[in-house]
Amino acid sequence: MEVLSKGDIKTASHSPVLSKPLPAIYRWLGDRIFLTVAVTLGLSIIFLAGAMAWVLIDDGSMAFREFGIIGFLTGTTWDPGVNFTFGALPFIFGTVVTSVVALGLAFFPAVAVAIVIAEYAPRWLSKIIETLVHLIAAIPSVVVGIWGIFVFAPWMRETVYMPIYSWAAESHPSLLPILGNPIGYGMTTATIILALMIVPFTTALTRNAIHQVPKEQREAARALGATRWEVIRMAVLPYARGGILAGAILSLGRAVGETMAVAMLIGNKNTFPFSIMGPAATMPSVIINEFREAVGNLHLSSLMAIGLVLFVIAIIVNLIAAYITRKLSITGGQGI
């Protein structure tokens, strides 16, 4: 026994790989280098985020000092021309309304498409649909915007806004201020385009959530005599609900930050109150439209402050998504 094991060791030490082990210093050095690089890169990300937040806070502080934080957030007047009064409420309102309504419009179609891709369509068809969905997501925002300007907005004006407007003008003139000016570029147009733009995103996230439902769950439902739709309703959607909701919230974050297409289609009107069909503005749209002309320090600072608010909203939305994922995702149900 002992002889045998000695022999084994001998043969092993003669093999070409083990005969010349790497000197310990190399391994130590490699370890060190990797550690240093990883830690440096990791810390620089934190530093970058911190620096961005600091620049926004620093540059926006003038606006906050001038109007007060609450005053800036609730101020309804944005007048960079004459009175130099800056209040962010119209843009916060515009952003919240357009993105929440866009999510509302996009959510159910997106979930339906995801269910078709994941559960109903044969593999070749779901591949095609998925590719198309990804293609839509890959269209640059500005291209969507220019399509909206030249095709969608005029079409909406002719077929939707004008008939409604004329009907209201004839029979319910009191509705006119709520409906607003039917020029085609406004809150509704921007919201619908925004919904179109987040559908692929919501679809992909929902599909991922549905794909993560274990096969056993579907089979368990099927073994109870569930039909296809009942399997989805009973086993798939409840199991995936955390992922689907988190996906919806992340899509909301996407809609909040969407800039170009919205800026091109919303009509860019800075004064409250907004109307349903008429022009409005959002936080990103006002920043992109005014940063070039912002010569006054207070004006620039106010735009920075809006940027800070947007930054904070984006962080909050992402935190909510993470919280929902953690709270609602299924753990322990399957494990033992």
């Binding site: 005599g225 039909t227 149900g333």
Partner: protein, 290 residues
């Protein structure tokens, strides 16, 4: 029993796979049983073949499943036990590429004829899986009555009555009766598996298929499930796939030995374990392979 005698006879077959691996003549089995007044055959597979694309899962399986008996399917991994089991309640229907030929008779009716609705069949042939599969977002109560709600039963008194009966049958009632409202995923693995069994029992199936029901459980939970199987066989026909030969010996009345897609041998468990007719069976049972 006469079955044993009969099983020793071999019938030549169209395609020879390897010597000593021929299936039995299914028609002879049923004849023997009916004339002898032996237990009723609840289900019967006749020359059942399942293919995944061009790969054969199981080949020409003919096997009776007796009422109020436990039928165990043993054999090495990947030899088609689960494939065969899933063919018994048409679970292959939604597997892409899977094709099933041959017949499976449930109370004399072939479940693979087009007019048979798989949903109806699965209500008569319940299934318990390898891993416990409670619906994690539903309460324990809702898990048990899930199958009943599917058929449209909404009467609350009836539902709670069935829930209690099924949980008692699954020997889980005493452990969960005070927290029927808590999520199905909140109980232990062994309890979850018994919950899965209770859920299958609630729809009052005729046959219960169990696919390695204890393979993910600890020994104590496993033995509880085995006791449960012994209880349940007084009312149901049970088919259990197991890798654990002791388990097959403990719980089953009849055993089928599968080897690379063929049913090598089928017969009463005590006979198969003590005096197998085929060399392969003996080799497997004595641990020469598998």
């Amino acid at each position: 029993m006469n079955i044993n005698v009969m099983f020793k006879k071999k019938k030549p077959k169209q395609e020879k796979i390897s010597p000593g691996l021929q299936p039995q003549d299914p028609h002879r089995i049923s004849k023997e049983i009916s004339t002898n007044g032996s237990p009723l055959i609840r289900m019967e597979a006749k020359e059942l073949t399942v293919k995944y694309g061009t790969v054969t899962g199981v080949r020409n399986i003919s096997l009776p499943i007796y009422n109020e008996k436990v039928t165990a399917l043993i054999g090495p991994s990947g030899c088609g036990k689960t494939t065969f089991l899933r063919a018994l309640n048409r679970m292959h229907d939604l597997t892409p590429n899977a094709t099933v030929t041959g017949e499976v008779l449930l109370d004399g009716n072939n479940i693979y004829v087009p007019r048979m609705n798989p949903v109806t069949i699965r209500r008569k042939v319940g299934m318990v899986f390898q891993k416990p599969t409670p619906f994690p977002t539903m309460s324990i109560y809702d898990n048990v009555v899930a199958g009943l709600k599917l058929v449209g039963i909404r009467n609350r008194a009836l539902l709670s009555e069935v829930c209690e009966r099924a949980l008692r049958q699954a020997a889980l009632w005493d452990e969960v009766k005070d927290r029927l409202g808590s999520p199905g995923g909140s109980i232990s693995g062994g309890q979850q598996q018994r919950l899965s069994i209770a859920r299958a029992l609630a729809i009052e199936p005729e046959v219960i298929l169990m696919d390695e029901p204890t393979s993910s459980l600890d020994p104590l939970s496993s033995s509880k499930i085995e006791d449960l199987i012994n209880e349940l066989k007084q009312k149901y026909a049970i088919v259990i796939v197991t890798h654990n030969m002791q388990q097959a010996a403990r719980v089953s009345d009849n055993t089928g030995f599968f080897y690379v897609g063929d049913l090598v041998e089928f017969g009463p468990t005590d006979k198969l374990f003590t005096n197998p007719s085929h060399k392969r069976t003996e080799e497997y049972l004595t641990g020469k392979f598998g």
